[in-house]
Symmetry: D2
Subunit: 340 residues, 4 copies
Amino acid sequence: MSTIKLGLIGAGRIGRLHAENLVHYVPGAELLWVSDVIEEVAKETAARLEIPYWTTDYREVFDDPKVEAVLICTSTDTHAQIIQAAAAAGKHIFCEKPLALDLVEIEKVLQAVQKAGVLLQVGFHRRFDPHFRRLKELLEAGEIGKPWLLKITSYDPAPPPISYVKVSGGIFLDMTIHDFDMARFLLGDVEEVYAAGAVLVDPEIGKAGDVDTTIVTLKFKSGALGVITNCRKATYGHDQRIEILGEKGGLFAENPLPHATRMANESGYRTPPLHYFFVERYREAYVAEMKAFVEAVRERKEPPVTGLDGKIPVVMGYAAKRSFLERRPVRLSEIDPSLA
Amino acid sequence: MSTIKLGLIGAGRIGRLHAENLVHYVPGAELLWVSDVIEEVAKETAARLEIPYWTTDYREVFDDPKVEAVLICTSTDTHAQIIQAAAAAGKHIFCEKPLALDLVEIEKVLQAVQKAGVLLQVGFHRRFDPHFRRLKELLEAGEIGKPWLLKITSYDPAPPPISYVKVSGGIFLDMTIHDFDMARFLLGDVEEVYAAGAVLVDPEIGKAGDVDTTIVTLKFKSGALGVITNCRKATYGHDQRIEILGEKGGLFAENPLPHATRMANESGYRTPPLHYFFVERYREAYVAEMKAFVEAVRERKEPPVTGLDGKIPVVMGYAAKRSFLERRPVRLSEIDPSLA
Amino acid sequence: MSTIKLGLIGAGRIGRLHAENLVHYVPGAELLWVSDVIEEVAKETAARLEIPYWTTDYREVFDDPKVEAVLICTSTDTHAQIIQAAAAAGKHIFCEKPLALDLVEIEKVLQAVQKAGVLLQVGFHRRFDPHFRRLKELLEAGEIGKPWLLKITSYDPAPPPISYVKVSGGIFLDMTIHDFDMARFLLGDVEEVYAAGAVLVDPEIGKAGDVDTTIVTLKFKSGALGVITNCRKATYGHDQRIEILGEKGGLFAENPLPHATRMANESGYRTPPLHYFFVERYREAYVAEMKAFVEAVRERKEPPVTGLDGKIPVVMGYAAKRSFLERRPVRLSEIDPSLA
Amino acid sequence: MSTIKLGLIGAGRIGRLHAENLVHYVPGAELLWVSDVIEEVAKETAARLEIPYWTTDYREVFDDPKVEAVLICTSTDTHAQIIQAAAAAGKHIFCEKPLALDLVEIEKVLQAVQKAGVLLQVGFHRRFDPHFRRLKELLEAGEIGKPWLLKITSYDPAPPPISYVKVSGGIFLDMTIHDFDMARFLLGDVEEVYAAGAVLVDPEIGKAGDVDTTIVTLKFKSGALGVITNCRKATYGHDQRIEILGEKGGLFAENPLPHATRMANESGYRTPPLHYFFVERYREAYVAEMKAFVEAVRERKEPPVTGLDGKIPVVMGYAAKRSFLERRPVRLSEIDPSLA
């Protein structure tokens, strides 16, 4: 098995998470470079994970011919530019979601990647969650026959800072985007969305021009229906469940519990709250995501989450946003005619 | 405790169910009369349950001064007329849902009842389910603070006959109506609905002009959001669950299992399917419903499900129907301006 | 269906429970008499349940030729004498457990019953619990093949008064006796027991000469093993579970929950405590027990819990007591050579 | 943080498992040597895990002054000799359970270790399972007050080969030993055991002089009671559960499920079988065990499972064996007077 050499661009929280997973849990991968605009961060990450080289200028990474692939984990507004530079340098690319908030930029990115002939995997980590994968396996094995109705529950334990809310693109592009991807992963493409939303968690979110609690109805091309409920706050943890009703039965992915321990007394039985951070909840998913990327690079095969998979949830996010603002169902083809 | 004497009008499946519950499980109630248009049914029911009098003409029941209250369990199209006759005769009334499919008729009924000064309870039995009541108690006790998001899952085990579908008024008025009532019971009045629907279970349902799988988004007057998912078929039984997310936590009413028994082997663990018929699932609810009606009559107090509670879900059904047909959210006040 | 006429002897807590079940839930049964040594109790019970006759002298019940069967729910020390009187009067008999605490008395009782040719059912209500019956059905259907290991958990919510402990015959004859019967019901006859015990709940129980927490190991004639754990106190309710491991898998009867409702917040998920009183936990079992007795009387067939079924758990109780005192395993045949 | 350099003696299944965990998951540890009597195994393990040195003679490992600690994962009959050699060489020691099957040998080992002043940790991995640790935390936090009754369920998915059964020392020393350790871990020292056993899974096990299904009753020094049920076969996986009943409530460690996925159809709900191999079930425990050993070595502090913790479960195994053979309860002090 050949060892794939990689460079990390952007060593923030998610970048460091991927770096650790690569170093500890992905056999056949070697992280050669870490780049971050903050020198201290780059240096410290390199030292802690025994990464040979560090830099504050990501172009150095692209100039190293030993580097076959890069992980782009910088802020969203820089994704498009760095992807294009990476593609131009012939590096295979893993990029965190979203590719960009601007659909024209995304299109440019996809074309640059295609032209360069490099591989691109987008960071929708939930596809690698073992519970959701098992759901998909059971679905594809025909256990419930044709799927009719998909229900995704996806609550965060607490809202992000208002400063983040303001630049996030709004809840549909920041939070629901993961569920849009999951909906496509499980039941295929969506034709139309209808979005309702409200400010219930925190009025500051409303003042920032966003909502914090939403219900999005989906019509799939297959004729099936779906609904995604999101909320920025659930005191009991990161609530992530999926149900599918089909002609032969139902499939349910429940929340995995941190501890299989119950306590009982006069007040009843108590089980622990859910994992609080997505990092804990999706620990295994993040490792599997990196393994899948390294494997795709090694075998020069299409990654399990393609550039198009990165783009369509953004289109869905815009469709949901418009639906919410105009109070009507919106077809994806209104946002991107190529999806008609 | 005085004994309340009652008459049953309509001894079909639901009428006989109420009769049995009254006879066996409601202390302080005596069923004096059973009336059914089919002589054999009236006779047989009277004999089996030791009900003193039977008739094929419900007016005989109204003429008996010993009768204080009647249960109207005839077909929907006869409700309005019989209620008005009962009110004119000064009898207190329990009437199965819906009061009528015509809102003008409902209005007439409510006025007749008010004018006569009799009590009217409408048959939304789910309000009496101990699991849902417990949910409401916990909600009202402030356990989760202000409620933000209500989710009702309500699937039937199998679709009704197509002949029934044709006269049912459509899924929103026949099936969702129970969930509309439950939504009001738990979170109060609704301002606007948006309904999506599809024919997925059986194309015959589509040919009959109806859909079989629906998602209805609700906006409550309080600002909270809600979503009801319905399907005419779930192979694993009568799936009836409710979730409420609120500022301090979540409440979940799961399906009660018919047996607390699990089996394990190489294929995994198995628990039994859900109750199949609503009669079994809501056995306790139906008894509690009758007890509540008899108690209201005895104490001359407002029944727990009033005439207005009977009317509003019908308005919501029409709003959902219009929403589905016109592909837009519809405010209840569009259907009934008095609800503005 | 002929109506079976019955008389109740002893209208204490359990007697009144059976009376109510007979009156409300057992079609084809009529309770003609209630007898209790306390006049007020007999009178009040008769009035409340509309039982035609009451008395303080149970012989009046036996003298009424209309009475076909009697329920003996008096204190344990009177069982033997009353059963023999009932048998002599040709009445079929339901008697609460235990038949007697003295094995010679039990033998006399069984002979009197046999000689009189009347039916005798002993009050082991747990056999009628729907969850445990379901377990037995699955076992008998061969779902787990040959059973190897039975585990019965049986805790009371709180210890009885010390005055009761003193006359109860001790925990093995008062509490474990139900589990001994359940063990026989599920896996057949037992050859040997070993009992360990401790005073952990309340030192007063120790002063009264009893223990409050026990572990009893069983060897079945089939070769299978079993273990019963008992405790006089579990703060979270009446904990009653059974597990069977067999060659093809496992069967588990869990505690049925009073409400299918969960609550979640920062502290985790909470489900309600268990049913507190055996009356609530075994509500359905008590009704089914009465139905089975009335059916046995009507059809003149052997009741589902025979006199021998009433005797053997008492033998097991004595074997456990001796095992505990002599600190060694004890075969049932040491207590009753007829069981060799 | 200093890096601890280690050598592995014995690269069989469990040895390789520890090696992989050290290499991948334990920061601050470096595996310098691998030794195995089979050259190919030593070589291959070194190559795969990039371990610098390999040998077929473990004395080479002891001769390397850079090695601070060794993992002894050879066959049980060699443990005593190798531990003594390691102690003589001044190496800290992690040794798989059991230290030896001969109590005199164990005593020698413990003395050698004490004399040499090296640290010794014994391989009872279950103490590091996060679910059981959580149980202990809740217990120690006083959540259920004083513990009264401990119940350990511990079934293997399938029996080992008969050849292994013959040299294993019997089920009490091979399988129950883990549960004996767990009992001590949770409720402290045990005074007396009573063991029942049967051959139910496979008659070949009986021919090999062993039993395959057992129930062991424990009396703790604290006065509490306990029971361990073992079976060599459970078709649904490695069933490992613990319950503790105490004065204020109950604690329950359930089996963690491999997938939080349920499926429902006409036959009911299905969840996956349990983890089959102990390697999967205790994956996290094995990593934590290595981390704890490395930390103890680094900080020169007593390891969380001491030599005495390694010895006492062997004493308990012999006591259970004698109890089973002599059909009577046996005090630990009968086996080892020092435990009186």
